[in-house]
Amino acid sequence: MYDGDQSATVRRELLKGNTPTMVLAVLSRGPMHGYGIAREIERRSHGAVVLREGTLYPTLYGLEQQGMVTADWQPAPSGPKRRVYRITEEGLAELDARTRSWSVFVRAISNVIGGAPDVHIPGITPAGHVARDPGR
């Protein structure tokens, strides 16, 4: 049984590698600054996704270097200027690819966990045994 800390750790493990996807997904709805991205991820996940918010910035830097997002400083209604990020065409294409890949992954894992495979893999029976060749 997991206690609170363990489930948080599991959550972080699951998050690894998926932060850029979430960032791109949030930015696909419109330009946003770092704080806004963190809040939007939290809001959309109903608080289930717990990000280390500081790690957003290296992620954004990486995406910017890959040409998936652009950023510029914009004046805020109150307070200092903010760096606003927006997704590029390359970013949208990458998000599309990542979304499809994620869907396949989720379906596969759900099948494994749920035990109800909806995909037949030739040579493998539903129970996971290698099918015997009747000719032999």
């Binding site: 770092g34 704080y35 963190a38 280390r52 918010e53 500081g54 790690t55 910035y57 290296p58 992620t59 830097y61 990486g62 270097q65 890959q66 109150s78 307070g79 200092p80 903010r82 760096r83």
Partner: protein
């Protein structure tokens, strides 16, 4: 909304003292100092300033939200920092990203910090290898002319290759030079260890041959260490596409 900037007037109507603001601000600034320190030499100065400003703005916004919910300013700043992640973790993420996409920190502005970091890494790893070698030496089962002992002596050379490879992988500037500097610092203790060892074992070649063996090891380590460090450094730059960084003297 409570503003943390010292230049702004705190909202005294909520009963918050002026020194609270400074405490919260100091907590955030101290945290950012720790976070940004490892990035010196990795990230150009102007970029560091911009990144720091951006993260400070984020932290203050989170802290503001906590204050809105009724937290004291310093507790709010601590909670905001907690959400942000440990300074070491965030700095490591930055280093990983900068490894993949260099920002030209060192290439643009070769600094004493980069050299120092490289030399420190060389000294650390070669120091550890020298310590391990000395321990091996102390536990040699027989005379230096025994085959088994000679194998162990030869194995000590491998330590320098491993240390060199780690230095080549982990440093970003002039790894071979860093190895040479590290070996020049370690030469005396290494030779001294051999002389002391020969004296302790009471063998006939003391002290001259102990000195010769030590000097041989230092020479071998210098060559093997610089070669392996350079090879791994060049391989790494070729594999990762990171621009080689040479500091003008």
């Amino acid at each position: 909304m409570y503003i943390y900037r010292a230049s702004h007037q705190p909202d005294m109507s909520r009963g918050i003292r002026a020194d609270d603001a400074q405490t919260a601000d100091e907590l955030i600034e101290d945290y950012l100092d720790h976070l940004m320190a490892p990035l010196v030499g990795e990230m150009p100065y102007r970029m560091r300033v911009a990144v720091r400003d951006e993260m400070a703005s984020h932290l203050r916004a989170v802290a503001d939200a906590y204050v809105e919910l009724g937290s004291e300013p310093d507790a709010a700043a601590r909670d905001a920092i907690g959400r942000f992640g440990s300074a070491g973790l965030v700095a490591r993420r930055w280093m990983a990203e900068l490894d993949r996409h260099p920002a030209g920190g060192i290439a643009d502005a070769p600094s004493a910090v980069a050299h120092l970091r490289s030399q420190r890494a060389a000294l650390r790893w070669f120091g550890a290898a020298a310590g391990l070698s000395a321990l091996t030496l102390l536990h040699l089962p027989g005379h230096i002319l025994d085959t088994e002992v000679q194998i162990q002596y030869a194995a000590a050379v491998c330590l320098s290759a491993v240390a060199g490879m780690i230095v080549g992988w982990s440093t970003r500037i002039r790894p071979a030079w860093s190895v040479v500097r590290a070996m020049s610092v370690l030469a005396l203790p290494m030779v001294g260890t051999y002389v002391a060892w020969a004296w302790w074992r009471g063998w006939d070649y003391w002290p001259f041959w102990g000195f010769v063996l030590g000097a041989l090891q230092v020479t071998a380590w210098s060559w093997v260490g610089t070669c392996s460090a350079s090879a791994v450094y060049w391989a790494r730059t070729a594999l990762t596409g990171i621009t080689r960084r040479w500091a003008p003297q």
